[in-house]
């Protein structure tokens, strides 16, 4: 024991870090902030450190070469003992890191912590969010499988739409004219060196600012932030009713961080690693690429936007979002902090959360994509076929053979790209059905060149049987009995 103390004294005599560390640990925080609401920032930092460690462990085996990366992931998953677990830890760690960063951001926003004098802390935080998203995207590419390959194609296609510099951006993104070895190498460099380096620097500054400016006090209705006297009031708060960060605040941070790491480990153990899916061989085209969870909302948005709006939204949307986030502390740098008196702030969070949640949920069942194998795997419910004439049955065969089922559901089975056709005869007359099938329109391809008259006749005969027993099929008013000629 004495030896340790002597060694510590010897070190401190030279390093002189003891006093500043003690000051940092004992810096006063407002009593209210030793709260379970204030644990997310430290948890994000803990998970980041966890990602650094698991990332280095993976780098011991991973081969960043387009020809070898997928194989090295297989070796990690199946050959090296517990390689799968380290991959799972890193994958789940990434999901948790993004989730905690987002929760941290929402908490900071709702507690008004971005207001004077913590504007710069918020701005650094916005960049930290961008870098975390960058890590998530580049990490998904390093899991070099089919999803990664085609995901890069999507990234390149988006970049190509930037006016003037689009083609140059594509070349920079891919490192060459195609998605190949050079692409993976540069994403490896970004994921392993560039972005983590920036993250470490920005996290350092972010934490330094918290120490310099103090943690945000618990927001109270009526306690307004004013540039003129905020610092005095905060000083008063920490020095009359303050408590030292260690041990008052830190134990909750530590408990929560530990719980999160344990949860990551539990998820990794139970669910296992993410992928890799099929080999990154572009010749295997029987694939439906999907982004990772946190980009699913974007996947949905890209499917649902009207084509003409897509490029403007893709290119201008992020710029606006960034301006809003960076400008926020300057626009509302003073005033009420508490969410109880900031209804617009609460509504904004609810709106963003509901939108992202809805898009993410939609991306789970992709109603906009044709079900590629419905024509062979989804059958027409037998009740829609019983008691039909041979021509109508022939029409049902045409329906199946021409892949109508890929986009149109019958009895709840099949694609959702187009409307379900269980009651189509109530909506459209025979003539309208023929026109729609032959000419298409309303996002439906025209089948005029692809159906002979017999096929069209039988198909429409079948479609005209599709109405509930209680509702009469649509009829042409001009041909109704008693109509004026």
């Amino acid at each position: 024991m004495r030896l340790i103390r002597t060694a510590a004294q010897w070190l401190d005599e030279r390093l002189q870090l003891g006093a500043p560390i003690r000051d940092t640990m004992e810096h006063p925080i407002p009593r209210d902030t030793a709260s379970w609401f204030y644990v997310f920032g430290s948890a994000a930092m803990t998970v980041f450190a966890f990602q650094l460690v698991t990332g280095i462990l993976l780098a011991l085996v991973y081969v960043p070469s387009a020809a070898e990366a997928w194989n090295s992931l297989q070796i990690l998953n199946h050959q090296i003992s517990l390689g799968w677990f380290i991959r799972a830890l890193h994958g789940w760690g990434s999901n948790f890191m993004l989730a905690i960063v987002l929760i941290h951001m929402v908490q900071v926003f709702l507690f008004g912590a971005y207001k004077y004098p913590r504007e710069l802390t918020w701005i650094l935080g916005v960049f930290l969010l961008l870098m975390t998203l960058g890590m998530a995207f580049t990490g998904q590419v390093l899991r070099f499988d089919q999803d990664a390959y085609w995901g890069l194609g999507i990234g390149a296609s988006i970049c190509s739409r930037v006016p003037f510099v689009g083609p140059a951006l594509v070349s920079l993104l891919l490192g060459g004219p195609i998605i190949a070895g050079a692409t993976l190498s540069r994403f490896f460099a970004l994921h392993v060196f560039v972005i983590p380096g920036l993250l470490i620097a920005f996290v350092g500054l972010h934490v330094l600012l918290i120490l310099k400016l103090g943690i945000n006090e618990w927001p109270m209705p009526g306690r307004l932030v004013r540039r003129s006297d905020y610092r005095e009031k905060y000083h008063e708060l920490t020095h009359t009713d303050g408590v030292p960060f260690v041990p008052y605040g830190v134990w909750k941070d530590a408990v929560f961080s530990g719980l999160i790491l344990l949860t990551i480990a539990a998820c990794a153990l139970y669910f296992g690693p993410f992928g890799p899916s099929g080999q990154p061989d572009p010749r295997v085209i029987q694939t439906a690429p999907r982004p990772d969870y946190f980009f699913l909302w974007l996947y949905a948005l890209l499917s649902l936007l009207p084509p003409q709006l897509e490029t403007p939204v893709l290119l201008i949307g992020p710029v606006i979002a960034l301006i809003v986030l960076l400008g926020l502390p300057f626009v509302s740098g003073e005033g009420e902090k508490t969410w109880k008196r900031r209804p617009i702030a609460v509504l904004t969070i609810v709106l963003v959360a509901v939108s992202l949640g809805t898009f993410t949920n939609m991306a789970d069942h992709t109603p906009w994509s044709p079900v590629m194998d419905a024509s062979t795997s989804a059958s027409i419910p037998s009740k829609l076929l019983s008691g039909r004439t041979p021509v109508q049955i022939q029409g049902a065969l045409v329906f199946q053979e021409k892949q109508c089922h890929n986009c149109h559901a019958l009895g709840g089975i099949g694609g959702q790209r187009g409307p379900a056709l269980d009651a189509v005869a109530v909506r459209l007359t025979g003539d309208q059905l023929i026109r729609q099938v032959l000419q298409g329109g309303g996002n439906m391809p025209a089948y005029g060149k692809n159906l002979d008259p017999a096929e069209t006749t039988s198909l429409v005969a079948f479609l005209q049987t599709l109405h509930p027993a209680a509702s009469a099929p649509a009829r042409d008013a001009s041909q109704a009995p008693g109509a004026q000629p």
Partner: protein, 182 residues
């Protein structure tokens, strides 16, 4: 006083000197980083590449073909094996479509029964001649220029086709039907 300004002068010179060193080192670094952009079109890009014997593509049908990208490196592995769709229109005229959807580059699949190309990602669909049928794409499928040489179907390929403002007007093929006998 004069001593102080002398020190400051030295400081300025040292900073200027290091700025110069930074520029001398920085310019090559920037050139290096911009190589993918500044390399331009090398001779290997868009070189004629064979898709195999022309009789592998029966008249009136659309078949998948693959080629090794002419710009491939050894480390590219299977990523350099690029697929494309070959449509033999009538035995004499061909169309060669890029596999990439003109929306966001996903691999489109050919459905011979409905004579449509469909994209699994965001639901784009194209007619058999590559023109847009429905969904988010703003244009038809990308096409490669092709020629027939010694019974081999050859295409000019090398770049990942992407949409974008420039590609809207320019196509891989300038939409002039090339005579296979040319």
């Amino acid at each position: 006083m004069s001593d102080l300004s002398r020190r400051q002068m030295c400081l300025r010179i040292s900073m200027l000197f290091n700025g110069l060193v930074g520029a001398i080192l920085g310019i090559p670094v920037v050139r290096y980083l911009l190589y993918p952009v500044t390399r331009g079109q090398s001779a290997a890009d868009n070189r004629w590449t064979s898709l195999g014997a022309v009789d592998r593509f029966p008249s009136g049908q659309t078949r998948l073909a693959t080629y090794r990208s002419p710009v491939a490196n050894l480390s590219d592995g299977e990523t350099a094996e690029i697929p494309c769709w070959v449509r033999n229109i009538d035995g004499n005229n061909f169309q060669v479509f890029a596999i990439n959807c003109a929306h966001l580059g996903c691999p489109v699949r050919w459905f011979p029964q409905s004579r449509l190309f469909m994209c699994p990602c965001h639901g784009g669909a194209y007619y058999e001649d590559g023109s847009r049928a429905s969904g988010p794409p703003e244009r038809g499928l990308f096409q490669y220029p092709f020629k027939i040489l010694d019974g081999q179907l050859q295409i000019q390929a090398g770049e990942l086709p992407t949409p974008g403002p420039s590609a809207a007007n320019r196509d891989l093929i300038n939409i002039r039907r090339q005579s296979p006998c040319a």
